[in-house]
Assembly symmetry: C2
Homo-oligomer: 406 residues x 2
């Protein structure tokens, strides 16, 4: 295994449009009252692309259209995204609308429609206002890119934009990987979509990119949970346009681990930002599981803990309630040997040898008041590690999600 | 398949001590501040018994002791139950304490300890105050049974007691099945145990009883969810003492379906009472799924819907938010054909043919204001049916579970 040296990957200020050859735009086209609601990513040349989609049985129309674009060749040159309306459960008309979005976008850019991906987020079950979308796409064409516009345009009720950028040294060649995402805020019920967009100027072989995205999604986006509900529109898309001019990266390439690690950092970074901005959240919760029988087991346990309503409310209440962590571990599908499990919080051991350990409640309470809380679990069964991210469960979550649709 | 006639099973006023030959008692022994906290069920003769236990990797000490009692012979004559303390994650001492509870109970009744089951519910990770337990068991011995005492003694922060009773005609012979349960209220964090006790005066063959309990648990207690967290102490126990004097019931017996259906009614009844009294709940939610590929698929879908935080908050907010129901179905592990799925609420069809259907929001909102809400899903794929029960997610849930341990 090749070690990825610390110095070869560096976080920098930047976003989806930082890698060479990308533009990102965002405008208000009228789907929302006043906020930006239509965004576009454009690459100067076709980019090798890969995507992962929601596992929901009810995949929304734009998901189907993007899958169609990627079914041959796996290259994209643009992505068109709207917020406010998910174009999900909208029947045949919804599919026609998503195809029209793709065509319209291709037309203004003068490219083939198969080079365009489509993505939507917002209310389920309402038809898109295509007049606004059409006019919006024309307006996008006349709009100069401006920092943060795209990131804003893809939000629903997220409270902050999410972006990140890493710089990697691939041998002597500098490449960049940038990303933007939206998460789950749902003042307007029915909204719940996780979208992630990643761009890189690296030259990457297609199959390797798809495989890397799949692997990395499992340890980043798939390891976050806000409320355990999966949207019909989730998608993570990565574009690699090769504008950095590097030698093509593939799985056998000496520098492949550097690229893959960089992509993982970008995805994890976005995933954490989504978890932290979960509906009504006041804290990011990170659960690190070590010593599990396998990495998969560790991931299952970590996600089970971070997804437990009881753990989430305990963290909100700054209560070092390890019994709820035990209940979550105990109920997980992973291999668990109760006598071997240890639970640590803020440097204190709370549980070990199947018995509670003495600890300072005051210190634990103080630790839990931080805006980022880490729970460490040692399974002492093997070498598997896994991390998951989530947020606390608050009155605000109930308020947001119980308010009647307006 | 033998049809169970309506008239052969009748719900009556009664509880765990209504079937012939049972007594149930409850007292305050001092584990709780003032409420009853120690209960006992006694059969006049050894009863064929069966139990199902929590699937948690962390099974509490009393669960292990009860398993030990039932490992040979499967007969019980008494059950001792305490609330306030789960005796879970209490190491070797916890196991010794649970065995001592069993022995002490056997001593005062003058029976073998293997005829006694032990059950505990309450805080995880604290040792039992055995002095209070010992004195309490002696006090139980001197106490005259009084209606509702046992049902009260097993509660933690449930707001109401849960009991039921059914009368069955097995040929010409009348038998009774009674039950008591506790659910999940958790003002005091770390508490979360579902306990169900069922008694019958029927004479039943041991293997058949165990199998029936297992089958029925899957469609009753295992189909309720309050917050998706599983306790270390969950247990459902059924005792059949034969005092009704009927011919022994077994799977080949002509009247077996009547008995099994009666047992199912008792378990469902208790399960629904637990769901309705979930932490902070204002409403019982019942989800009925029909036309699924299999019964198991229907159960999975029903439980997924009723367990969705988004559905739970929508019901709390009286919002006919079918998109969240779709999201839950879409994310389920069952077989789903989106175009075939129908969602009905209060007699109105909300979703069909993969498209929203016109419906009266006002009527739906009014329907959702009821204290018992039913969501109907038709999968149109097969003949599988399944039901699940849960409750709404409210501010009160967060309040209860975020409050610091005192």
């Amino acid at each position: 295994m090749i070690q990825v040296s610390e110095g070869s990957i560096k976080k920098i200020d930047g976003s989806i449009d930082s890698p060479k050859g990308y533009q990102a735009k965002g405008i208000h086209c009228g789907l929302r009252y006043s906020k930006k609601d239509l965004g576009m990513i454009i690459s100067s040349v076709p980019a090798v692309s890969a995507a992962v989609y929601t596992q929901s049985h009810f995949q929304a129309a734009p998901i189907k259209v993007t899958q169609d674009s990627l079914k041959n060749g796996a290259t994209l040159q643009a992505v068109i995204v709207n917020s406010a309306n998910a174009n999900a459960c909208t029947g045949e008309q919804g599919l026609l609308d998503a195809y029209e979005m793709r065509q319209k976008c291709a037309d203004i850019l003068g490219i083939e429609p198969e080079l365009v991906a489509v993505s939507s987020t917002g209310v389920i079950g309402e038809s898109l206002d295509m007049k606004k979308i059409r006019e919006g796409i024309s307006l996008l064409d006349r709009t100069t890119p401006s920092e943060g516009d795209f990131e804003e345009a893809i939000l629903t009720t997220d409270t902050v934009t999410k972006q990140t950028c890493y710089e990697l040294m691939i041998g002597d060649q500098k490449i960049m990987i940038g990303g933007a995402a939206k998460g789950s805020g749902m003042i307007h019920p029915n909204m719940a979509t996780m979208l992630g967009f990643v761009t890189t100027d690296a030259h990457v072989e297609e199959g390797a990119l798809q495989k890397a995205l799949r692997d990395i999604t499992d340890v980043s986006f798939n390891q976050i949970t806000v409320d355990g509900d999966t949207s019909t529109n989730d998608m993570v898309l990565v574009m690699a346009n090769g504008c950095a001019g590097n030698e093509c990266l593939h799985e056998g390439h000496k520098q492949w681990p550097v690229f893959k690690k960089g992509l993982e950092f970008v995805c994890r970074d976005l995933a954490k930002q989504i978890a932290k901005d979960g509906e009504g959240a006041t804290k990011l919760i990170e659960v690190q599981v070590k010593g599990a029988k396998s990495n998969r087991d560790a991931q299952i346990i970590a996600k089970k803990i971070v997804g437990s309503n009881l753990v989430k409310t305990a963290v909100y209440g700054t209560d070092a309630n390890w019994g709820r962590i035990i209940a979550a571990i105990g109920d997980s599908a992973a291999s668990v040997t109760p006598e071997k499990v240890e639970i640590h919080l803020g440097g204190q051991c709370l549980f070990k040898n199947n018995e509670p350990q003495p600890f300072s409640e005051a210190f634990a309470k103080e630790y839990l008041q931080k805006s980022e809380v880490q729970i460490d679990v040692q399974m002492n069964e093997g070498k598997g590690t896994g991390t998951a991210w989530g947020c606390d469960l608050t009155y605000e979550y109930v308020k947001i999600n119980a308010s009647y649709r307006t």
